[in-house]
């Protein structure tokens, strides 16, 4: 199974990117996590530019989603909501709405934050947005609060409870795909 990993954070040393790396280590050999690193290159959405061919970064995102069996998004929380860059990328990906690449695509949303709530509001809004886009949003939540205590400086996850939650989320995502994927 091919899972596309999208981190909603651009920051070097992002806890959310680290969370996705931790997910990668939990996957069985039959699955792979492919990281999309084009978030910084997606232009602001402008309907005037929403033509064929799409801007290269947008085309690459759409292709990456289309080629994936599932998508795993880890989001931080900015002002109680989705980071603008991530929302912007999804707005591009959602066009045209009736045939967009996220339609029926199994997606799991997880997140972490430096504060105590683990980006729960950003995650909730992200699920709403993905649902409106037609995605098959997995019923999972991994909210990693106090992220500074859960990861080492090099990004290694050191919290077994979080690791177990991520493993469960991957299992649910696998069931949505129909692969019966079970994290190791």
């Amino acid at each position: 199974m091919r899972i596309l990993a999208i981190s909603g954070s651009l920051r070097r040393g992002s806890h959310n990117t680290s969370l996705l790396r931790a997910a990668e280590e939990l996957l069985p050999p039959t699955s792979e996590l492919v990281f999309w690193d084009g978030l910084r290159d997606v232009p602001p959405y402008d309907q005037d530019d929403d033509v064929q061919p799409a801007p290269p970064a947008v085309a690459a995102l759409r292709q990456a989603v289309a080629e994936a069996d599932a998508v795993l998004i880890a989001t931080p929380e900015f002002n109680s909501s989705i980071p603008g860059a991530l929302k912007n990328a999804l707005d591009w990906a959602s066009r045209p709405i009736a045939t967009n690449v996220f339609r029926n695509k199994p997606v799991a949303v997880i997140g972490s934050s430096a504060g105590m709530f683990g980006a729960v509001w950003a995650q909730a809004e992200l699920r709403k947005v993905l649902g409106a886009m037609g995605a098959r949003v997995a019923d999972v939540e991994v909210a990693v609060g106090h992220a500074g205590e859960k990861f080492e400086a090099d990004g290694t996850l050191v919290d077994d409870d979080v690791r177990e939650q991520v493993a469960d989320a991957l299992s649910v995502l696998g069931v949505e795909v129909g692969s019966g994927l079970v994290a190791v």
Binding site: I97, A98, R103, N104, G131, A132, M133, G134, A135, R136, V137
Partner: protein, 176 residues
């Protein structure tokens, strides 16, 4: 000169009857934003009545609404999830007084439902077919079937009601 007399009755005719798809309709109605009722149709359906046993199915992909984005959302996992659950079905039995008791399946969830019905007829149509009319309705809670989408309104409450009226107007032709 003959006159067609419309006769309303509550007894369901015996024999085998098929819905004439052109002159029948299947649809739903639900309160939106608390003020007006939004309705849509399912253009693709089949229905039959065989000795009091009513069976029908409708295609989710055939839902017709007036906005393509709304259509796309209704087809998505947020609502009917056409990819996994392409049909709505009902099967039930005449329970007297025009009612049908049976099971309704939406989005893979099956629940007991009673349809309230009005039987009209019979008439002989201009082509020599014997016809009955069967008007059916039931109110169901969409969240019982996993159609849970909603959106909070700025002034309180939610955009979409949970109670949905399902309606079918069937023009039944007696099978040869």
């Amino acid at each position: 000169m003959s006159t067609i007399v419309e006769q309303q009755q509550t007894s369901v005719p015996a024999g085998t009857w098929q819905a004439d798809p052109v002159h029948s309709s299947v649809g739903f109605a639900v309160k939106y934003l608390g003020v007006a009722t939004f309705s849509g149709e399912l253009k693709g359906f089949e229905a039959s009545l065989v000795d009091g046993e009513l069976a029908g199915k409708a295609q989710v992909a055939s839902i017709e609404v007036k906005d393509e984005n709304l259509y796309a959302h209704l087809q998505a996992p947020d609502f009917f999830d056409v990819e996994r659950f392409p049909e709505l079905t009902f099967s039930g039995r005449d329970a007297g007084d025009g009612r049908f008791q049976g099971e309704l399946t939406i989005k893979g969830v099956t629940k007991p439902v009673t349809l309230e019905g009005v039987v009209t007829g019979p008439v002989t149509d201009p082509y020599g077919n014997e016809r009955y009319g069967l008007a059916l309705a039931a109110v169901v809670d969409r969240t019982d079937f996993g159609l849970d989408w909603n959106a909070p309104l700025p002034g309180g409450g939610f955009a979409l009601a949970n109670d949905v009226t399902l309606k079918a107007e069937l023009s039944l032709i007696k099978a040869a």
